[in-house]
C-alpha cells in the first residue's frame, strides 16, 4: 500500500465534502480518541483469552475492521494537519524502539 496515495485520496474526499473546516487538530485528536474507545468497547467485559478469538466472529470482525480503519484515517488526518509526516514518524519510532530495546550485536 502507498500511504501517500491513500492520504491524497482521503484529503480529496474531505475537500469535496467541505470537512476541512471541522478537521482542526483539536477536533481530530478527539475523534481519534473516540474512535479508539469504540474499538476498546468490544473488549471491555471479555477476558484477554476471549479477546484473542473475537476476530473470528464475522460480525464483530467486520465492525472492528471498520473502526480500526476509521482510527487510522483520523491518525493520518491529524498528522497531516499538524505538519507531521506519518511515514517518517513511524520509521523514526521504529528505529528508536529498536535501538532502545534491542540487545547489542555480537
Amino acid at each position: 500500500m502507498d500511504l501517500k496515495q491513500i492520504l491524497q485520496q482521503y484529503n480529496d474526499l474531505c475537500e469535496d465534502n467541505d470537512w476541512q473546516v471541522f478537521h482542526t487538530p483539536k477536533n481530530l485528536a478527539s475523534a481519534l480518541t473516540v474512535s479508539a474507545a469504540k474499538v476498546l468497547q468490544h473488549y471491555q467485559w471479555i477476558t484477554e483469552e476471549e479477546s484473542i478469538s473475537l476476530g473470528r466472529i464475522p460480525k464483530s470482525r467486520e465492525t472492528i475492521e471498520n473502526e480500526i480503519a476509521e482510527t487510522f484515517f483520523y491518525l493520518m488526518a491529524l498528522a497531516n494537519r499538524t505538519g507531521i509526516d506519518l511515514e517518517q514518524a513511524i520509521v523514526n519510532k521504529a528505529e528508536r524502539d529498536a535501538r532502545d530495546h534491542q540487545g547489542a550485536p555480537d
Copy 2:
C-alpha cells in the same frame, strides 16, 4: 513506506522482547486508547485556532509525533493480533467512504 515491512520489523521487536504475551487484543485496545488520549491531552485546554499552530512548536511537535507513531504501532499490532489486514481494511474503508460521500457523476 512498506507497511508489511514495518509490521514485520515491529513483530520481530515484540518477539525479541517477549512482549507478545502482553499483546492480547484486549490489552492492545486499551493501549491504543490511552495512546490516543495522550495526543488529545495536548489539545484539551487550547482553542481550535491555537491547535492549528501547535505543530510548529518544536518541543510539542516532537512529543506529538512520537505519540502519533506509538498510536499507529498499537493500531497495527491490534489489527495483526485480530487477524485483520490493516492495508485491506484501510482500502475497504476508503472505497466505502468515497462511495457513501461522493456526488453522483455527471
Copy 3:
C-alpha cells in the same frame, strides 16, 4: 445525596445481576474510559461556543445526562473495587487543589 447509599444500591444491583465477576478494576477502567469517550463524541466536531448550548437541546441533554451518570457509576465501582473511598479521595483532592492554587492568606 448520600454517596454511600447510592453505592450500596448500585452494589446490590450488580450482585443481583451477577455483574461482579466482570467488574474487575481492569474492566471497569476500560468501561470508564469508553463511557467518557461517548460523552466526548457529542462535542468532537462542534466549536467550544456551540458546546456551551448543546445542553439546551432536550434530546442531546438527555443522552449526555445518561452517559455522565454512567461514567459516574463506573468511577464509583472502580474506586470501590480498588479499595478507594471515593468521598475521601474527592475531599483530599479538593484540599490539595485549594492549597496548591490558592493565594497566600493576608
Copy 4:
C-alpha cells in the same frame, strides 16, 4: 459528603484561578476522557487478576486515587457547565437501571 458543597468549593477555586474560560463543555469532555485514560493506563498490561490487587500497592493506590478524584471533578464540572444536575442524573440512572435489570416482584 455533600456533593453540592464540594461543587461550590470547586467552582470558587475555578473562579479564583480564572479557569472558567477554559472550562467549556467541549474542553471538559476532553479532560474527562484524558483523565479516565490515565486511570486505564495503570491496568493496560496487567491481567484482570493482577488488577484486583493493584490498589494494595501504596504508590499505585495514591496515584489512582488522585486520578479518580480528578476524573470526578471534570465530570462534575461538565455536568455543571451543561446545566445537568449530577445528583439528579445519578438518581435517575439508578432508578432506570433498577427497573431495567431487576426481576419482577413476587
